[in-house]
Amino acid sequence: MELAAVGKRYGRGGRWILRGVDLAVGPGELVRIAGPNGSGKSTLLRLVAGIERPSAGRVVRPGPAAYVPERFPPALPFDAASYLLRVGRVHGLSAERARRRAGEWLDRFGVADRAGTPLSRLSKGTCQKVAVAQALLAEARVLVLDEAWTGLDPEARAVLDEAAAERAAAGGTVLFVDHDPARLAGLTGAAYLVGADGGLRSAEEGAAPPAGAGPVMEIEVDVPDGAPLPDRLPGAPERTRLAGTEVRLAVAAAHSDALLRRLLLGRPAVRVLAVRRREEER
């Protein structure tokens, strides 16, 4: 995914909301876009998703994007399941697969019982879950989350954190904007700040989780064939080589679920030997 010298303004002679933006995001990367209100973060995401065209420069995407808007309209006259089915079909899924994935995501967000309820009668939070599910169900190459966490309950936020990490682990590109500066910290490969002049600067943050910020989980795994673990793992765990082909990974507890999921589902195949909370050092 690449933006080259991208600028955006509305109408001729309008103010440049974005100007001279260069951004390259590779597969498997999670990128945070920060900036004050009205700085053009959402516009940048809309350009990335292909919803708007740049006034200058060009945007190259590796494939279709999935987009979660800031506010999802409950005015849509669908019920949750049939809306997700229709969007899944547009994504190119077969009807049967679209229906199954829709069910899986509604289930994962804990709203499977509301599958047949019209969107107009869902609560704001549940509606937002449908908006998120719509973007996740097709496993698009590019996932664009514009404050998608807003309005979700804590459990659903965790599910979305996990889903974003999974998408990146599977080679997808994830761009997001969120008010919470700790969102996906430790997973985020890079963070950028949209300035008042419409330029994009690297924001030095999110490299490593601050030491002592919450409990740390240790996961010990054995990689039987001795293959190296991927460079980028959820939560950017601290690695220690143990005897033979065994490795100990230490990660903030918030990311341990995503890390375990990645280890168990991804390559190389690993055996998980132990999962425990790190003892407080004296």
């Binding site: 998703a49 999935a66 987009y67 999802f72 006259p77 669908f78 049939s82 079909r89 664009v144």
Partner: protein, 228 residues
Amino acid sequence: MTGRTGPLTRYHLELLLRSHAWLPPFLAYVLLLVVGVTAGDPLLGSLGLGAGALLPVSAWYVRGALAAEPPASRACLVAVAGPARVHLGALLAALTVSLVLAVGEVAALWWTSGAVADPGAPGRPAVGAALLAGLLTSVVCALLGVLAGALASRPVLTRGPYGIPLALALAALLLVVPASPANAAVRGLVAAARSGRVAVPWVELLLAVVLMAAGCAGVAALAGRRPE
């Protein structure tokens, strides 16, 4: 281009039906037919009226299909399939509804009408030929109605209160200007009612298909350039 247009058409069709946006144009069309056609009227004349009235109704369906989608959910679709395809999906959904209406109209008029041609017409046309000519004329009007609606909505007309008057003006123009295939086809039906000799409007249909395809492709391409 066509790979994802099927599911998008289906999406917009369902949107049109679920949002009840299909109902007002349908009721207006039924009203026009009820006012304009009396049971027992000659078939060919009624078919001409039914086809002509379908043109503005099809334009209305385009506006309905485009208005039924909130911007945020459209953005989600555009991210997946691109703005041109999403727009095309809405136009094809409106066309589908209009074509269904055309079939219903021809069937209803066949049911209620009396003789095929006007009394005193020299020829004695077959019902089959009259129905075919009526159906094709209705299809011509549906195609051009969709074109009129597409030209009188976003992204051609971005905002302002001129959409509805412009759609009506375009629809009226397409019905009365002799060069328009809709005008030629409807005139053909009216002439057939008088003379009793039915000419099936194949040429008009071909012209209408070409006009509608070119116009809608242009509008969809513009939707790609002016997504909002």
